[in-house]
Amino acid sequence: MDTHVIEARGLSKRYGATTAVDRLDFRVEPGRVTGFLGPNGAGKSTTMRMILGLDLPTSGSVLVNGRDYQGIVWPLHEIGALLDARAVHPGRTAYRHLHSLAAANGIPRPRVDAVLEQVGLTSVAHRRVGGFSLGMSQRLGIAGALLGDPGILLFDEPVNGLDPDGILWIRTLMRSLAAEGRTVLVSSHLMSEMALTADHLLVIGEGRLLADTSLDELIARGAGDRVEVRAVERARLAAELREVGAEVTLEPDGTLQVTGVGSAAIGELAAARGHVLHQLRDVTSSLEEAYFRLTEGSVVYRAPVPA
């Protein structure tokens, strides 16, 4: 049975001439944290709004547990979402905010106290949320997402603007929700954050799906470990390395980036051919690099690199 699953097929959203989301196909599975990763403006939030039936797709579809969101009668029991922590009426208390949401989905009132306790807001439950810090608002938003004990949870950039304690708390919460067998989809533009939280990644850029892969696989793929070499006669060394099957690029900073041949082999070759080396270094590309390589060319807002 298709439970706790989000599935997009050819999901697209255009605003006039701009394509925000471009034919996305993916399936978010239970029991793991799926990171929804991409630069700002890549279409993550638009996709999340379409999952929740708030924005309507221009074409394609996205189904929650096999159904169109707008056809779900009691959605908070199936999917809980934190989109924007500040999207609350500032004059309402935390308790009343949650109570109104609970009432809308037939959720018994004691559950409101339970989720307030779970996110640590019991002591401020009867304060107006206008006076809440961003961290408290995030906790309230998460309480709202957990209210219906849903099998699927959606978090849009949940750690933005949080202090380290708050970040750790959310990270731990997401991991434990997934460990319980729930489906967790969390968006972020920070690879480093995803490296700590996600098991699986959906990488998007300019609205297109760039990768649907496990974290380990992405690192392995992006890695293609290479050797960085500085040599006095770099053109001659590059030619000689290519003869033995290496791929060599000459970087503007004067280094040779060599793949396909290990550092030991390069050292031996250099000694045999009488080269003077200034540097011979193994480089393991990081997750950040892997992500950057995937998304380069699909960054919507980028400042010119200073010369």
């Binding site: 439970t3 706790h4 399936r27 599975e29 239970p30 029991g31 793991r32 709004r49 929740l52 039936g53 708030l54 924005d55 309507l56 707008q70 056809g71 779900i72 009668v73 959605p75 908070l76 029991h77 979402a81 989109l83 924007d84 500040r86 999207a87 609350v88 009426h89 004059g91 309402r92 208390t93 009343r96 905010h97 109104s100 949401l101 009432a103 809308a104 989905n105 037939g106 959720i107 018994p108 219906g148 004990d149 849903p150 099998g151 997934a178 460990a179 067998g181 729930r182 098991d199 699986h200 799906l209 760039l210 990768a211 649907d212 892969t213 496990s214 696989e217 793929r221 995937l294 060319g297």
Partner: protein
Amino acid sequence: MSAHVTEPPRRPEHPQVRTRLRPRAGATRLGATARSEWIKLWSVRSAPAALAAAVLVVVVGGFVLGAGYRSGWASLSPGDRRSFDPTFTSLRGVQLAQLFVGSLGVLALTGEYATGLIRTTLAATPQRAQVLAVKALVLGLVVWALCTAASFAAFAIGQSQFTGPVPHASPGGPGVLRAVLGGGIFLTLVVLFGMALGALTRSTPLGLASLFGVLLVLPVAVQLLPGSVGERVDPYLPGEAGSQLWRVVPPSPHSLAPWTGAGLFALYVAVAAGAALVLVRRRDV
């Protein structure tokens, strides 16, 4: 770069969670939406404050205008005395109350759009037209009940001031009971009009400007039309048409009959509400 799609690895060690929480037994979608909107209405200060202000100006208006006419009766011209409408006079606080009630209606919608709460609301209840309709039903009933009570109170207080030579109305008089009930009905239509315009504009300043532009500014603008055009158009304006319901003596020979006028106002409200219901289903939030 082309998308590289791999089969996601299964994690058999993580069985699917069995969520235990279920909707309350006997909960209905409509009932749940109504409960939610009821809680929302009373859990912010602005709504009870606006409702209290509306009731207060209607009731206090009955007293102030009643006392004013009694003390100033001697100085009124014979013409003014002839056209004196004791029922309407005691209910004139309704004119001021429409500001509070109308703003409340606009803000009931635009407040949710301004904060982004509308997304949370519609994620919890994706049946958008139902949310809008139930919101209108809840707020409409509350306004109707409170403002009808306030109209009766204002009528009673106002008539108690009309003593001696000042004519007073009794509830059994022709059109009197209808006019008193009309105060509550008119204000209910105003709150619904405000909600519809709030849903259409999704912006507090635009919503308020369109509501009060139509109810208060348009009649003034129409007076500026050349010749008798203004006079003839005026009775068909929403506010003017609707206010016939709480008058006993028509203000002008062109005025519409009370229920005709109220029906026309209701029609304007229905058109705006219909447009809002269609658009709320189509638009992204």
